[in-house]
């Protein structure tokens, strides 16, 4: 029997988790390797873009899982992404303006780590979106 709606999403979770783990492993390895590679070298540049390809593989797996989901699950995913995207813009914009207002005297996380904001907010917004339809 064909898997239904949320079952299809749940069935896709191991693949999504595996793809996410692969991407994170490549990212962590790249960050570690960059500490030892000569700045500006070809090796450093190739190492820095490797996680991008790993992330696209992860995004492809997620997209495939969402395509298999039923209409409510797709709506929940859209709600979560819209909320996470807009919240991330607000946070990053606010940080940038605060940086200007304090003329660099505020302690911020390094810009290289700001990208974590979007997936972290997406995870939170997904919980919020799910509760709306419970």
């Amino acid at each position: 029997m064909e898997l239904m709606g949320r079952q299809r999403m749940r069935g896709a979770l191991p693949g999504v988790a595996l793809a996410a783990a692969f991407w994170l492993a490549v990212y962590v390895a790249a960050r570690a390797a960059l500490q030892y590679l000569r700045a500006g070298s070809v090796e450093a540049v190739l190492t820095s873009i490797a996680p991008i390809f790993a992330f696209y593989a992860f995004a492809w797996v997620v997209q495939r899982a969402v395509r298999r989901a039923d209409e409510l699950e797709r709506l929940i995913q859209l709600d979560a992404l819209a909320l996470a995207f807009s919240t991330t813009i607000c946070v990053l914009m606010g940080l940038g303006l605060l940086d200007i207002a304090h003329a660099g005297r505020l302690e911020f996380p390094p810009m290289r780590d700001w990208w974590v904001t979007l997936p972290a907010l997406y995870a939170i917004c997904l919980l919020v979106a799910r509760r709306r339809y419970r």
């Binding site: 029997m1 064909e2 239904m4 709606g5 949320r6 079952q7 999403m9 039923d70 209409e71 409510l72 699950e73 709506l75 709306r132 339809y133 419970r134």
Partner: protein
């Protein structure tokens, strides 16, 4: 959108999971429709009406 899906389902002795299986959606979707937190697409509304051998307006009321 108001509906009496829960009553129709109960008359046939189906659980939410049973109805979800028959319609090809998740139990979460059925629950959200019954609690009127989610209005189904036209396609799903037609599927529901056809399953119960009723007109759409007999199941859903605007």
């Amino acid at each position: 959108m108001r509906n009496d899906l829960r009553q129709r389902r109960a008359e046939r002795g189906w659980s939410q999971a049973d109805l979800a299986d028959k319609l090809g959606v998740s139990r979460q979707t059925i629950n959200a429709i019954e609690t009127e937190k989610y209005s189904p697409s036209l396609e799903l509304a037609f599927k529901i009406a056809r399953l119960f051998k009723l007109r759409i307006e007999d199941v859903f009321q605007a």
